[in-house]
């Protein structure tokens, strides 16, 4: 029965013109962009302050921490994994950056990145070697790393990062916040990795069909470990930005960040099942959530209503996207 169904699907899809295919692809790629532009239009109409250059730069700056984290998350989700520990990795990085202040900015940066990469690698190592669900491994890591941070800092914030690093969090180049530039650069690098390198193709292969990838000679475990390392690395970059911005390290700075990052990736059209999606969508997803937060504040929407609106818009965005792709495909 199932076979017959899929057979008929194949034959009917064969009757599709190239145009129809292109249309599905267009909707999948640009549907979420349309929803995002719609939200921007609503924002522009409802608040006179939204479209000011100052506010737009403000939004880009605000999304860069979640954005950096979401870039790494995209790699992991594309391999059909998940990384719940990014918030804790980010927080631990802020602690490393602040804690290593006496040894100078280079040690601070290297320490922060080192901690983040090591945590990411550990996630990947345990997941692949132990053959355990990444959900559980990274959930455990999320809890344990907060503990490590609290133990290290004795539950108190560590105040002060090297002065020269403040530039990363607060500086501007030609009026554009440095952290926004960092986010855009990293997004481009990620895009290149996924689109232009063999590693990128392997990421999609592993997420699409692990067995097929393995049989065709892809080093599946290595691909997955690298994805977790990238996720850790990007969360670490986010941590450096946050530490530089707030001039502190604290064990709970990343609380709830994992959900924001996952929401941005999924809203951007990357499938939690892996193998489909990409960085472009994630960028739109990040911006969509950022604009939404900005607008709720600009309009002074009360706290309880905010929660309802935020939850609803995330689901509705994905819903519209899914409906569009399906109806055009029929």
């Amino acid at each position: 029965m199932a076979i017959a169904e899929s057979m008929s699907n194949v034959s009917s899809s064969e009757r599709f013109s190239n145009n129809a295919y292109r249309r599905i692809e267009l909707v999948q790629r640009y549907g979420i962009l349309a929803i995002f532009l719609l939200l921007c239009m609503t924002a522009a109409l409802s608040s006179p302050f939204f479209l000011t250059p100052d506010n737009l730069l403000n939004v880009v700056r605000q999304v860069s921490v979640v954005g950096l984290t979401a870039l790494g998350m995209t790699f992991v989700i594309l391999t059909a994994g998940i990384d719940l520990s990014v918030g804790s990795i980010l927080a631990l990085t802020t602690l490393a950056v602040a804690g290593l202040k006496p040894y100078g900015p280079v040690a601070s940066l290297a320490g922060g990145i080192g901690v983040a990469v090591a945590c990411g690698w550990l996630n990947g190592f345990i997941t692949t070697r132990g053959r355990i669900q990444p959900f559980i491994v990274t959930l455990g890591m999320m809890t344990a790393l907060v503990g490590v941070g609290l133990a290290y800092s004795d539950g108190q914030p560590v105040i002060g990062v090297p002065v020269s690093l403040g530039w990363i969090g607060r500086g501007r180049v030609g009026g554009v916040p440095v952290q926004a530039i960092l986010f855009v650069l990293m997004a481009l690098v990620s895009m290149l990795i996924l689109k232009r390198t063999r590693y990128g193709r392997h990421v999609y292969a592993v997420g699409g069909n692990v067995e097929a990838a393995r049989l065709s000679g892809v080093a599946v475990d290595r691909v997955r470990v690298i994805a977790y390392v990238l996720s850790g690395l990007f969360a670490g970059l986010g941590g450096i930005v946050m530490a530089a911005q707030l001039n502190i390290g604290e064990a709970n700075l990343g609380k709830g960040l994992e959900l924001d990052a996952i929401a941005a990736v999924v809203v951007g059209g990357t499938s939690l099942a892996g193998g489909a999606g990409g960085i472009g969508g994630t960028i739109i997803g990040v911006l969509l959530i950022g604009v939404l937060n900005n607008l709720l504040n600009l309009l002074n929407i009360p706290a309880y209503t905010q929660l309802i609106v935020k939850g609803a818009i995330i689901v509705i965005a994905v819903l519209i996207h899914a409906q569009l792709s399906r109806s055009k495909g029929r």
Partner: protein, 313 residues
């Protein structure tokens, strides 16, 4: 070989635990249950209570709910089964704990609140600051500051709330509003949640600054210190520090620095109540009578007295 090694390890571990347990039962044991440990205020409270009990030679068991009331209840159950004489509770989600405390009472285990109380829950005593009173005094400070600035009680106020629905936030904000609302010319132009967190308050404040151009804001009331520090950062970066004053609540060390630097106008001490709480607990263990409610004094900290007061944590 391998099996015997494991057995050996387990036996050793069991012996160690046994020894520790025996030592425990030797003196009086009390329990401490906190909602979580992820805020400096909570960490300081635990440290104060640990210090107080170890000085007095009382064994302390401590658990925390990791932000989850079910986990907090499980921790209380664990400590209860180890035999505690008295339980100190810092109540997170207040209503969720009521039932558990009721059943503790039925089992004859006395308890008291430290830091965050629940009214009418059968505790021997509660030792804490008064959030509503702090809010009221902050409201008065805002009215006075605006009167000084604009010649009469008139101006625009921004409120940064805590986690939506959180009791502490409702009391602090409610207290402040009860005073501010008496003056029709004082307008609350924005009231937004910052979830008690610095990064969140920082970006929320950035957004509010966008919606209210220079010259339209006078003062920010943040429902805790972390949010005040986030707001200060955002205001500084916008170059509007001269125009907008910030008040916080809690009185943490960094706020004191901000007050000295002139970035923060005032804060109010909300003591973790650990030191005072353990002192009262020791009295209870000795069988002394204690009052049913001990409210720690409200201390307003401004540039005038910042060097004479100790930070709350």
């Amino acid at each position: 070989m391998k099996t015997s090694k494991i057995t050996l390890t387990l036996t050793t571990a069991a012996l160690c635990f046994g020894a520790v347990n025996a030592a425990w039962s030797a003196s009086e044991t009390i329990g401490l249950s906190q909602e979580s440990l992820d805020h400096p205020w909570l960490a300081t409270q635990r440290k104060q209570i640990e210090a107080g009990s170890s000085t007095a030679g009382v064994r302390l068991l401590a658990t925390d709910g990791q932000g989850n009331v079910a986990t907090q209840i499980a921790g209380i159950e664990d400590m209860q089964s180890k035999g505690i004489k008295l339980l100190l509770v810092q109540a997170g989600k207040a209503e969720g704990l009521r039932q558990e405390l009721q059943s503790l009472k039925e089992r004859g285990i006395p308890y008291m609140f430290v830091g965050k109380p629940i009214e009418n829950a059968g505790a021997i005593t509660m030792v804490s600051g008064d959030n509503r009173a702090l809010g009221v005094d902050a409201g008065q400070f805002i009215v006075d500051t605006l009167t000084q600035k604009n010649g009469k009680p008139k101006g625009n106020v921004v409120i940064l709330e805590g986690i939506p629905g959180d009791e502490t936030s409702l009391n602090r904000v409610g207290g402040a509003l009860s005073v501010i609302k008496k003056y029709p010319d004082i307008k609350v132009v924005a009231s937004q949640p910052g979830d008690y967190r610095r990064p969140k308050a920082y970006s929320v404040m950035q957004n509010i600054l966008q919606a209210h151009p220079p010259g339209t804001l006078d003062i920010v009331f943040a429902a805790n210190g972390e949010m005040a520090l986030g707001a200060i950062q955002a205001i500084k970066e916008s170059g509007r520090s001269k125009e907008i004053k910030v008040t916080g609540l809690d009185g943490q060390r960094e706020e004191f620095d901000a007050i000295r630097a002139g970035d923060e106008a005032a804060t109010w001490l909300y003591p973790p109540a650990g030191t005072e709480g353990i002192a009262v607990a020791l009295k209870i263990l000795k069988g002394e009578k204690v009052p049913p409610k001990i409210v720690l004094p409200t201390v307003r900290v401004t540039k005038e007295n910042v060097d004479m007061v100790k930070p709350a944590f």
